[in-house]
Amino acid sequence: MSTLGLIFRELRHHKANAALVVLALAGTVALLVAVRILATAAERETRRVTRDLGFNLRILPRDVDPDQFLADGHSDKTLPADAVTRLAAAAGTFVSFNHLTPSLERRIQLGGRDAILDGLGPSVVGPGEKKQPMGFNIPSGKAYIGHALAQRLDARPGATIDVKGKALAVERVLVESGTDDDIRLYTSLADAQSILGLPGRISEIRAIDCLCMTGEQDALAQLRNALERSLPEARVLQIRAIADARARQRQTAEKYTAFAVPLVLIVGAAWVGILAALNVRERRPEIGLWRALGNGSVRIASLVLGRAVILGVAGAAMGYFVGTQLALQAGPRIFPVTAAGIVADPSLAWWALLIAPGFAAVASFLPAMLAVAHDPAETLRAD
């Protein structure tokens, strides 16, 4: 009888052990699939949540006066507006930066007091990425108005306000933020350039860093090097608190995965290995008999390892299904902001079917060697 035929008959005979091995493998695969789907969801949620913290990089004209910038909150120098397209076109830019958003910002007088005019151009994301643009995408002739400024001007959505002779329709009144955003007037970049008489100019490019640094790596130095190559007339300023929060959040998620995956693998392997050892122990007389009948080590090892591989396939299929359901049920409750993005990942099924049988075979390797080394004389002697 073929080895495969023997394995299937043995599995039918030792149903309880086989079921427990499948359960162990299915549990391991299910946890890994769930962890993988949820880790992706966590990464997406982290990205989204940290993105909502705002831009953490400000790319400024190189000749900006730091004192003036820090005192006023914006640069009084400008860059040509095509700086953003040049930066986007430079090789390797999107390794370090993303969501490149040109801006022209100036302090103006509105309603007899200070306000900040902030003209925003469209965000540029990495090639092939389908990311939602950060910040606002404001049509020409429209304005988003900060909470305090709206109260000062008594402006409501639909109202028209006059900004240095240019009429703008109020599209949105922003919620109170407790920051200088409350006196900010957002317009399209073109409108801001027109109002300020600075056509074709921007005061900065806002961006997010793409670097997932460990605590020891100097992200800012890498960003500066990257900018030096692609846009030498600019300098980059990192808003440290936001950058650190992003990095910490991402590193926490990675640490969690790095802890959970080996733990699941070790527990799963131990479980499968113990069950395989119990199976081999129970089958010692049979193994002794196969030896006596002239079966070599390869056949004996094949009976144990082949069994593990077959159960691995069953465990992978079951584990993928269970793990996916687990992630789809629990995921939206854990990651509510990006719940819609949590979906089954069929590629994990192929990975599971590829890896779980190998994993089961590795976990059963020691019991297989015990079977090969089993002395038939121990179980076959009568006296």
Partner: protein
Amino acid sequence: MVSCDHLVRTFAARAGTVAALDDVSFRVERGEFVAIHGASGSGKSTLLLTLGGMLRPTSGAVSIDGRDLYSLSAGARTRFRASTIGFVFQLFHLVPYLDVRQNILAGVPRPDADARARVDRLIEELGLGPRAESLPSTLSAGERQRVALARALAKQPPLILADEPTGNLDPVNAGVVFRRLADYQRAGGTVLVVTHGNDAAPYATRTLRLDHGRLAARLTTEVL
């Protein structure tokens, strides 16, 4: 056919080293039916496993058909055993998840159509026809031993080694087993049986006695 020279096999025990076989030498010629008689613990099973290439002697040599068994590599010894020796054990040692026919076929290294036909004949000869599709757990002790005997005979080995083949059987079933072994011997096969009783003696051409690991005397069936 079988030659063993000065076989010694010792085991470590709490009280020190125990010699299960102590300078055992004898020869079995082709076509003989040799019964080795001895009490429990006399070293019978150790002798049989040593002759079967499954238990390396501490010293001494075993030759079968002129080949020194323990000078062969493990793989070569396994192949030699598969082609040359049929085993019958006291505890039957049937594969619990294979039915009667499959258990018998398991003894044949390459089961071709001839082997399958031979297995079917053995099943009928040994009265196992109605149980051919049954699992060992549903068989009586006598039926199990007949399956084990059929398994040993199925590959038509030149030598059959039987370890207490009737130890768990009633006299009727014991007679069936020994008669079949005697038939095999008369057809040219060589049989070596170890047993604690003397029930093999009427079928044996020669009987030896093993006592505390030593061959004590050569007995004839007439003496027994």
